[in-house]
Symmetry: C2
Subunit: 547 residues, 2 copies
Amino acid sequence: MQTIKAITENSPQSFDEDVSEFPRRLISRTELTPVSFLRRTAALYPDRVAVIHGEIRFTWAEHEERVNRLASALRGAGLQKHDRVAILCRNLPPMLEAHMGVPAAGGVLVAINTRLSTEEVRYILEHSGARFLLVDRALFDVVEGLDLEQVVMVEIDEDMSPDSGYERFIATGSPGEVESWLEGEEEPISINYTSGTTGRPKGVVYTYRSVYLNALGEIIEAKLKSDSVYLWTLPMFHCNGWCFTWAVTAAGGTHLCLPAVDPEKIWGLIDTEGVSHMNGAPVVSMWVVNHESAHRLEREITVLLGGAPPSPTLLGQMRELGFRPLHIYGLTETIGPTTVCEWQDGWSEMETDLLAPLLARQGQAYVISDEIRVVDPEMGDVPRDGIAMGEVVMRGNNVMLGYFRNPEATEEAFRGGWFHSGDIAVWHPDGYIELRDRAKDIIISGGENISTIEVEQIILRHPAVLECAVVSTPHPTWGERPKAFVTLRPGVNATESELIEFVRERLAHFKAPEAVEFCELPKTSTGKVQKYVLREREWQGSDRRIN
Amino acid sequence: MQTIKAITENSPQSFDEDVSEFPRRLISRTELTPVSFLRRTAALYPDRVAVIHGEIRFTWAEHEERVNRLASALRGAGLQKHDRVAILCRNLPPMLEAHMGVPAAGGVLVAINTRLSTEEVRYILEHSGARFLLVDRALFDVVEGLDLEQVVMVEIDEDMSPDSGYERFIATGSPGEVESWLEGEEEPISINYTSGTTGRPKGVVYTYRSVYLNALGEIIEAKLKSDSVYLWTLPMFHCNGWCFTWAVTAAGGTHLCLPAVDPEKIWGLIDTEGVSHMNGAPVVSMWVVNHESAHRLEREITVLLGGAPPSPTLLGQMRELGFRPLHIYGLTETIGPTTVCEWQDGWSEMETDLLAPLLARQGQAYVISDEIRVVDPEMGDVPRDGIAMGEVVMRGNNVMLGYFRNPEATEEAFRGGWFHSGDIAVWHPDGYIELRDRAKDIIISGGENISTIEVEQIILRHPAVLECAVVSTPHPTWGERPKAFVTLRPGVNATESELIEFVRERLAHFKAPEAVEFCELPKTSTGKVQKYVLREREWQGSDRRIN
């Protein structure tokens, strides 16, 4: 009989020692960086179309060369490791090139919201310590009033003519790869400034590791493939385009640039370029499906919807035309989308009316994300009953490193060892979360919590309603009460009392709005309704302002 | 004019200091582990079918519970962190459960090739220092002769009846999650023993990080989705099933177990279970497409083919029936597949005769892999001309940590800072690599590696044998088989069948030569046996010679 000898000799300690001696670095471990996606795709599909902008088409070989030239030009202009390179630009090819070229050079990308004011842009340039500014000529008036003597500024021209600033700048660079300075995947790759409803914008720091993993997550969720054509309806300055700036490249798909959201143009591109994917706030899809050019799709288009739940009406219209809506949720601090309302068996066959409330939920974590929790103030899980409300908290590779040069805000956001989203949600028995409100939007009326989103969802079911926002309004007895602001569909009518009655029939009476006002809703550059504007208006002159 | 003040104050040093103070661990960083895939999928699809084995179906909730019970039972039986848990098992549910349960418990999985001999299994148990052995009752005769007193042994029964050893074992565990002991993603998760070209099998160490990233790579390459049904034609002991043990779970697809490759059964499962994916050596697909039950598919099946390039005949048959063949290449040391022959524009419309030579190439790196190189002996790139030959070398997150308790072999394999595959290839102008010769003499018979040197060493032990060389010979079923050329000692005799039997007694039966020819061996001037001369002779006139 043969005896196995060695077993008792192997203590866990000696095993760990044996294993710890392996030469990991470089051979068995590569630092994760999205730049590798470009290298691979350019090697694999050098002659396929990488980027489309109007009549301009760059192949992957051309795109990579332009990225290399940008990286090399930045170094030539004095860029040192981790120097911040700001870019204020619409969805043009240079914006995409900066997402690879700045990391390739070793810089940190600061993509600035194109709708900000001069003062906001000044603050971000100063706070981030930007040494470079790439600026879209169409946005030049925003920075015109600034003293930018200490900043290397490069002007981007929409038509990309060879004598424009950016083209001349990258022409100073060399076409080959510059040597990488990356030492560790947890180095910062970008800083994205949140609009921040109160006070100054905060700089959210992303790492190479976090955007690499999130890009893979987006490929898997959106099912990006090498024949995907991604239409840039989402601004690239938004969480670096929810990491699709890197994900589409990793998948070898095509970037279809769109400098401004224009439903007419979108339908033109859908019809001529074989669009397979586009992302954005529901309002963008609303414009698209309600446009006169809208027609049934020949090829399914996957649309990731974020920022607000899709309304039943929108869902119905999208399904009818052949779109595949996917409801996602995330924040700048979670590197973009981090939960997805995954379709379950049988949902495809469901009536839109029944499906809508299911798809309105934010869902569960992405495959690369840690489990999302909904917690009470003591950080305990709230019951998964679809009723108890708590705050949504996250942690893991989908969470920012922290707020740049703002340790107080970082500490506050990370209290208890989790990132606090500030969003209030319920947790359903099936594990899906559903937002009820921003913490600051919740209405406390006579001691009862009222979720403004819940009320909005009901009002949106009314056939005459196009858009709706509910905020608190002061009330002598109850402290505050909900008030609805509503935009009606063209050519349809509804009265205030009719809408209030509509809600009372479907929700607890105390949740019904006190008043309804018909108007245009104020929105952010990305189409998000600015509820705080409405709220401020309601509370102006009131000394009982709570939030 | 507003001045931007802060820029010159921000040196790169202060930036790095600011950024280094973030509280990364736990909040902004989670250690990558495939166990998280199971947690997420079980939360998302608790009631969907996770694992099918004959009439047995486990939902994700049930599968997770069984995994939890296994992890808990292992700890209950004394498992300490990094204890090796060996498993010798066909593609049965417990084999799948071990791939999650052992890491969840904190152990290191050693999945053993089910075709090895008692002596080989003994060596692996001893070398790995296994403290546990889960063994398929059908393979019990392999370990029967071993003294396993110091090993906790658990018997697995194909029918999974409640009174079988494994079922009783996991019943001792609790249904909930055990606390994770994982501290870092670069800890070892499994050791996979190669058959090895020289001498003893080598233990290839995988890390949590490497299998996590490779699993995501497989999802992206194979396009696994939550409605995928993966048929287990590939043994799970092969590089942990090329990481599909984890990838299919991450995608939320269904594992369809198959204890033995049987084309009749495979067609039955294709017809009844909606198979969407299966992997393996080309010979497996050959059996499938040539079986009398073969018919055109109703739903496309993606087949990853590895181990040898698909022949034109096979390709033609697969395409005609509606399979999507994808040629991949990798080694145990590269955590399974690491290159893929990606289809290019227009390939789908190509005639099989023209396509076959393109698809016979091993291709380019996976999205999560570093670029694969073909190098000369000085580690310089060979020209990309499709003619110059060199060795294929790799590095990155798709490369093993090293050979367990074999620093010399590790050093040798990692010389020059790259993993040396031992495979000889050309590099085509389009960046695709194409193997010209496998680790010189290795024989791949029915998807299994046979080291000629190993067989030679056994034959040389026979008292009548003076010299011996083993090379591959073509075989209609297995692709290739070993053939021995033997010079006998003067005045001593031995027959062909006697020598074959001699090998069968000492090695796995599939390694025994198909034929023995007695002759003088061709030699170089310095007395080295010229195996290539013998090989050329064997393959002369054969159109099925692959390399």
